[in-house]
């Protein structure tokens, strides 16, 4: 929150326009962004911090008249880089996303079915952890609805590389999960 003073110094009209657009984007993109960061391995608090910082950067970007082209990709790139910075700062590897507890399955299924579903989920979790970092990142960004070109911009790799990586990752999961 160190940049609040700089925000207040922005011209009011630009501030208002930027705030309006950033608010709309916040409602739309907060959840996909949180999901990406949590699945990348950040804790809940870390993910929420990164999301807040990313939207603050977006607000400054829009209020200062920055480019509005592919804002979604821009936001994910900022969040991705901030997550990577935290990884370097704390010398920690975000390679293993936290396993979900599968609370939702047990509500609707029979106990046997629930156990089976839980086992499949754990199998999938194991397979996801065996993917390389770039494979996992490509799949996670793809799951948020980004196109291959946008994923390439976020990760700084070519679109053809994204296509190959996504293809390889999904085939690995299909093979290991035996779906």
């Amino acid at each position: 929150m160190s940049g609040d003073a700089a925000n207040l110094a922005l011209p009011l009209s630009r501030l208002s326009t930027g705030a309006c657009e950033a608010t709309t984007l916040y409602r739309e993109l907060r959840k996909p962004l949180l999901r990406y960061l949590v699945c990348l391995g950040l804790s809940s608090d870390e993910a929420q911090d990164v999301v807040q910082d990313a939207f603050l950067s977006l607000h400054r970007h829009l209020a200062s008249g920055g480019s509005q082209e592919n804002i979604k990709g821009w936001l994910f790139r900022v969040a991705h880089n901030q997550a990577r910075n935290r990884q370097n700062r704390y010398d920690r590897n975000f390679s293993a996303p936290g396993d979900p507890e599968m609370n939702s399955v047990s509500h609707e299924a029979t106990p046997e079915r629930a156990v089976l579903e839980k086992e499949k989920f754990q199998q999938l979790g194991k397979a996801i952890r065996l993917l390389s970092a770039s494979e996992r990142e490509c799949l996670l960004l793809r799951a948020t609805g980004l196109r291959y070109r946008e994923i390439g911009e976020v990760l700084g790799i070519a679109t053809s590389t994204v296509s190959d990586t996504v293809d390889r990752a999904i085939k690995k999961l299909a093979e290991k999960c035996n779906v």
Binding site: L8, S16, S43, F55
Partner: protein, 210 residues
């Protein structure tokens, strides 16, 4: 393995050109192996999405309040705004406090002539010099007959409403939270005490900004 196997996922993601996509579709009509592969990929993708969603809901507590940065930001901005409004431009000598009650009759309220000096209409009101909270509280307020007459009431003299969206970046103030600022102003016009009380309430953001 079929030659088209490497294009199936890109085709599912609509990342192929029209010509390539048409070629894949023609091939799928004829190749049952590729059709079953596509079905398997769909199931994997669906499971992966469900896994991510579950990871998100089990790790992130929705509506988790983050008070420290919010309260500090609100406090800093509110203090700046308050100081801006109450800082006296010229030295002001407050009038001596008189505990006697000021009574204004109905007939006196109709005309400014009959009013005591303290409740006569002020042509040029300087808001920074109006505030004398103790005296206002001691004033008995008659029914207002003449809207032009300046009659102090028990209501706050200055009310400032600033939407959170105008002051803070999105996300700084969680939805459903607003603040009530309790500001005490000293006799010399300076801010004596500022207390912010966070409140949870049904809060709707404005969909449009001016």
């Amino acid at each position: 393995m079929c030659d088209f196997s490497g294009k199936l996922i890109a085709w599912m993601d609509r990342e192929l050109s029209e010509e390539e996509a048409a070629a894949v579709e023609r091939h799928l009509d004829a190749c049952s192996e590729c059709r079953s592969e596509v079905e398997a990929y769909k199931r994997v993708i669906s499971k992966f999405d469900a896994y991510c969603e579950e990871a998100m809901t089990s790790n992130v507590r929705q509506g988790d309040p983050r008070w420290v940065p919010v309260v500090s930001a609100v406090g800093a901005v509110a203090a700046i705004v308050a100081l801006f409004f109450v800082w006296p431009r010229t030295p002001y000598q407050p009038p001596a406090f008189q505990p006697s009650k000021v009574v204004v009759s109905d007939s006196a309220a109709d005309t400014t002539e009959g009013l005591p000096a303290r409740v006569r209409p002020i042509q040029k009101i300087h808001r920074r010099q109006v505030v004398t909270p103790v005296q206002i509280r001691n004033t008995i307020v008659p029914p207002v007959q003449n809207q032009d007459a300046y009659i102090p009431t028990n209501e706050p003299v200055i009310q400032i409403a600033i939407p959170a969206d105008e002051m803070f970046p999105p996300g700084a103030v969680p939805e459903g939270i607003h603040f009530t600022a309790d500001l005490t102003i000293a006799a010399d016009g300076s801010a004596e005490r500022l207390r912010l009380s966070p409140r949870l309430a049904v809060f709707e953001r404005r969909t449009t900004l001016p």
